[in-house]
Symmetry: C2
Subunit: 189 residues, 2 copies
C-alpha cells in the first residue's frame, strides 16, 4: 500500500524509540526523530498528531481489543466481571512483550505531558468500555463507574507489573486488584 519509502509510520516509531530510550523524551526533538527516519519534521506530523502520540502507538488497538472482549462476554456474566476479564486479557497480551513495554512505561513516567496523555488514553478506554456496557442493559451511571473502576484496577496492576521487573502474571495482578477493591467496598461492619 505505501508507495513511497515503505512503512514511514513504523520507521518514525522505531526512530523515536531509539532516540528517546537513549537520550530521554525531552532531549529529543521532533525534527531529530524525523531526520533519523529519513524524513522532515513536517512529515512527522502527517503520521502522528503530536510528539506525545508516538509513545502510545497501539493504544487504539488495545482499546478495540478490550471493547470487543466486553461485547463478546456472555450475558450471564456480571458487567464488572466482564470488564475485569477483558482488561486482564488485553493486559496479558500487552505485557507479553516484556522489557520494551517496561522501558516505554518508564519513559512515560519521566514526563508530565506523557503522563497526561496516558491518563486521557485511560479515560478514553473507560468511556469506550462504558459504552459497550450500555449495550447490555446496564444503566449509564453504573456503566461509567464500573468502567472507571476496571481501568483503575488495570492501571494499578500495570504499575505493579512494571515495578516488578521480572516476569509477573498480569491477569493474577488484575485479579488481586479486583479482590482488594471488592473487599474494601463490600466487606462492611
Amino acid at each position: 500500500m505505501p508507495r513511497w519509502g515503505p512503512d514511514a509510520d513504523n520507521r518514525l516509531y522505531l526512530s523515536a524509540m531509539e532516540l528517546i530510550f537513549e537520550r530521554g523524551y525531552d532531549a529529543v526533538t521532533v525534527a531529530e526523530i524525523a531526520e533519523h527516519a529519513g524524513l522532515k519534521k513536517r512529515s512527522f506530523f502527517r503520521h502522528f498528531a503530536d510528539k506525545r502520540e508516538v509513545m502510545f502507538a497501539g493504544a487504539a488497538d488495545f482499546e478495540k481489543a478490550v471493547v470487543d472482549a466486553v461485547r463478546a462476554a456472555p450475558r450471564a456474566v456480571r458487567p464488572v466481571d466482564a470488564v475485569m476479564t477483558a482488561l486482564a486479557d488485553a493486559g496479558a497480551g500487552l505485557t507479553k512483550w516484556g522489557e520494551p513495554v517496561r522501558q516505554r512505561q518508564r519513559v512515560v513516567a519521566t514526563s508530565i505531558e506523557l503522563r497526561e496523555r496516558e491518563l486521557i488514553k485511560f479515560d478514553s478506554l473507560a468511556s469506550a468500555v462504558a459504552e459497550a456496557l450500555g449495550e447490555r442493559e446496564v444503566d449509564d451511571l453504573t456503566a461509567i463507574l464500573v468502567a472507571k473502576a476496571g481501568v483503575a484496577a488495570l492501571a494499578t496492576a500495570f504499575q505493579q507489573w512494571v515495578d516488578a521487573g521480572g516476569p509477573a502474571d498480569f491477569p493474577e495482578l488484575m485479579a488481586e486488584a479486583h479482590r482488594r477493591l471488592r473487599a474494601a467496598l463490600c466487606d462492611g461492619p
Copy 2:
C-alpha cells in the same frame, strides 16, 4: 505582603476568565491575558506554570481539604466511607459557587489539553488520598484502589452536577454513585 501591584495572581486569574469565557480558551493568548491584567507575558509564567494551570486555580486547596478530611475521619469509619465523605464534602464546597464553576468546567470540556490537565489533577488527588489512607493502616494496594474509586465517583458526580444545570445536591449525587458502584461490585449472582 505583595509590594507591587496588589494581587497579581488574582488579577491574572480574573483576566483569564473574562477573556476565555468570552472568546474561548484557544482563541486567547497568554500575552493577551497578561496585558489585560497590566502585565507582560513573561510575568504570567512567573505566577502560573503554564497557560492550562490558570484554569485550575484552587485545585491545590481542594486537594488539601480532601486529604485533611480523610485524616480527620474517625478510625472506626471504613476507608472507603472516609474517602467518599471527604470527597462529597469538598465537592459540596466547590459546587456551592454555582454557575461560575459550571462555566469553567464547560471550558475545560472544549479543550483536549485542559481535559488532560484535569485528569492529572484527579490523579494527583487520588495519590494524595491514598497516602492519607496509608496513615490508617490500610495496605498500599487497597489504598490506591479505594482512592481511585472515590475519585471516579467524584468525577462522575461532578459531571452530573454540571450537566444538571440547575441546583443539584452534590453529596447526594456522590452517595448515589457510591451506591451504584457498591451494587455493581458487591451484589453477586
